[in-house]
């Protein structure tokens, strides 16, 4: 799937705060719409860049709840169609797994998410 370069879409004007900027987008990591918009203005142009920058989708749900909304914000801010905005690159494991589980050992106290 094609991604887009930084020369396309988003025009690079100054960040203007909006009324709904404090609405949470990533429920796990408590990242707001404003923080994601700001990240885009700071030069993050793909969902993977935003993820590395802010960690949305890095929480225990692995981006399942916020991916669509983060892509939506990217689309709106950059003016690109949703079809040109790839999702998070899913990583294995797809569910919260303790390190012990991956090592086929019994589960540790306080493990989990």
């Amino acid at each position: 799937m094609k991604t887009y370069g930084s020369d396309r879409g988003f025009s690079g004007e100054a960040f203007v705060p909006k009324e709904d900027d404090d609405v949470i987008i990533c429920r796990c990591e408590e990242i707001t719409r404003g923080e994601i918009r700001k990240a885009i203005y700071d030069g993050m142009r793909t969902i993977s860049e935003i993820r590395r920058y802010l960690r949305p989708g890095m929480g225990p749900c692995q981006g399942m709840t916020c991916e669509r909304n983060v892509r939506g914000i990217l689309a709106r801010e950059t003016g690109l169609p949703l079809s040109q905005i790839p999702g998070y690159r899913p990583r294995s494991p797809q569910r919260p797994v303790t390190l012990a589980e991956l090592g086929n050992e019994s589960e540790e106290e306080g493990g989990g998410v």
Partner: protein, 523 residues
């Protein structure tokens, strides 16, 4: 590493259907599901399904789930529960976690049928306890018998929002409103009509402004939006509710397909690109059900069957002729389900004005959830006739035909095209058997005797009224019309938990009264 002819990920309608198809062709099949129970969302679907009679229409989702499980068992399909597939590689090895252990299995073929996740609508206050997904509401009330709240506001008027709102009424909750930013109700008119006649108001072109509460939801404020989605000042409306439920669409769970490196496209969600048999860009890796694109469960089952059939053919378990014949049948059935007012091409359109018969589609039904007394007479399911006869308030082209099968006396015709509006044959003689009323998945069929002022309605609330009791007849919009006396209550295994309640009303109300409230009528 253990090898299987087919490894299925997800024991929902698509996965189980594929597994059954493949196992019956002789393949070795294993199904993994991360949940404690198989069936996917089917065991939360307590309503009767739409579609063709041959493909389980008129049967509740829970029963279809049971049927699939019994078949899977009969076919000796190994279904492993509590088993989350956490990774999948191009060489078709699958990592599965169960009981804290991770192991790998190898599939000659793999079917990803992991379903969908619910979309969300972020708004101020949406992280408060009491704001939940529609699926969460279904899980709590239909699986565990716990009401998600006392008073609920539903966001989203697609079929999920409509069906779950109705289920909330059945669970004994109050539904304060159904809200949608779109100008038209997104789901079937018949689903909306069930809510409207029981008093649930619709707010189209409205969105949520905020939910508030100290610790948990206590109220929610909505407002009307203009054509550029901005709130029109002065249109704000606040509801005191303890629960806000979201049904704003589903996202395909394509993560595993992405991880495997399959080609992905945006098709109302990120989905793996599949060929006509459901195979992804990776040979031997298939996708079916919501993973490959959001559709109704009836389509998911057919898509699953096609993928299973294809895998069986490619692996040499069935010959080409068998494959071609079976595929053609399933493809045709799938094509039937993808026609009509809510077909993939028409979904979300706001400019459709006519049915395929050339009749006007009701704007009232799209915007308020009910047909006016005037409009209803324009459709072929509604006739005036002496004595008892069915009145079918089915006015949109929905792929569904069980009503035709239900009547043994030829009163109801749908014909070859299952999206056609049902027509009443005025020559046929209605015997007042009530099967059509109970069979209609949309609860849109009533038996009416205008002269006697008798109206028979499908009734799915608890408790069921008793013969002789007096209550209130409600109109299509839920407004109290007059006194109703319950003169007959019919229950039968054939009606599958839909009671047929006959009420006597004033003659002038026979073509207006479509629901019953146990409250005493007062002027």
């Amino acid at each position: 590493m253990k090898r299987w002819d087919l490894v299925v990920i997800g024991a929902g309608p698509a996965g189980l259907s594929a597994a059954i198809e493949a196992a019956e062709a002789g393949m070795s099949v294993i199904v993994f599901d991360e949940n404690k129970k198989p069936g996917g969302q089917l065991f939360k679907q307590i309503h009767k399904f739409f579609g063709s009679k041959e493909n389980h229409a008129g049967v509740r989702g829970i029963e279809i789930g049971q049927m699939l499980l019994e078949k899977a068992q009969k076919d000796h399909i190994q279904v492993e529960l509590d088993s989350a597939v956490i990774g999948i590689a191009k060489d078709r090895s699958v990592s599965v976690r169960k009981d804290g252990q991770t192991r790998e299995v190898q599939g000659q073929n793999i079917l990803i049928a992991a379903g969908a996740s619910e979309r969300t609508l972020p708004f101020p206050g949406w992280t408060l306890p009491g704001v939940i997904g529609a699926g969460a509401a279904q899980t709590m009330m239909n699986l565990y018998g716990v009401r998600p709240g006392k008073k609920i506001l539903m966001i989203g008027s697609g079929n999920v929002g409509l069906v779950v709102s109705y289920q909330m009424l059945q669970a004994g909750c109050q539904v304060a409103a159904v809200v949608d930013a779109a100008p038209r109700i997104g789901g079937y008119g018949v689903h909306a009509a069930k809510l409207a006649r029981n008093g649930v108001p619709f707010y189209l072109s409205h969105t949520v402004i905020r939910a508030e509460g100290d610790g948990a939801v206590k109220s929610v404020t909505i407002g009307q939006v203009d054509s550029s989605w901005n709130i029109i000042p002065g249109t704000e409306k606040t509801f005191d509710v303890d629960t806000v439920c979201m049904a704003v669409g589903l996202d395909p769970m394509s993560q595993l397909a992405r991880m495997a490196g399959a080609l992905i496209e945006e098709k109302g969600g990120l989905v793996p690109t599949v060929d006509e048999y459901g195979q992804t860009s990776l040979p031997g890796i298939f996708a079916a059900g919501d993973v490959a694109g959001i559709e109704e469960a009836s389509s998911a089952m057919l898509n699953g069957e096609i993928a299973g059939l294809r895998a069986a053919f490619k692996s040499g378990y069935i010959d080409e002729e068998t494959f071609r014949t079976e595929y053609k049948k399933k493809k045709a059935a799938l094509g039937d389900l993808r026609k009509g007012t809510f077909s993939p091409e028409n979904k979300g359109r706001t400019d459709l004005t006519l049915t395929s018969e050339g009749l006007p589609l009701s704007e009232n039904l799209f915007e308020k959830g009910f047909l006016t007394d005037e409009e209803v007479t324009k459709y072929p399911g509604v006739i005036k006739k002496a004595g008892v006869h069915p009145v079918i308030e089915c006015t949109q082209n929905i792929p569904c035909n069980p009503c035709q099968e239900a009547c043994a006396f030829g009163c109801i015709e749908v014909g070859e095209d299952i999206t056609a509006l049902p027509r009443i044959n005025p020559q046929a003689d209605c015997r007042n058997c009530g099967k059509c009323v109970a069979m209609c998945s949309g609860q849109a069929i009533f038996l009416v005797d205008e002269e006697a002022g008798c109206v028979t309605i499908p009734y799915e609330f608890d408790p069921i009224p008793e013969e002789g009791e007096m209550g209130t007849a409600l109109g299509r919009d839920g407004s109290p019309l007059g006194q109703a006396e319950i003169i007959k209550v019919r229950k039968s295994p054939a009606f599958d938990h839909t009671a047929l309640v006959t009420m006597r009303v004033d003659k002038t109300l026979a073509m207006k009264a479509r629901a019953y409230s146990r409250k005493t009528f007062s002027e």
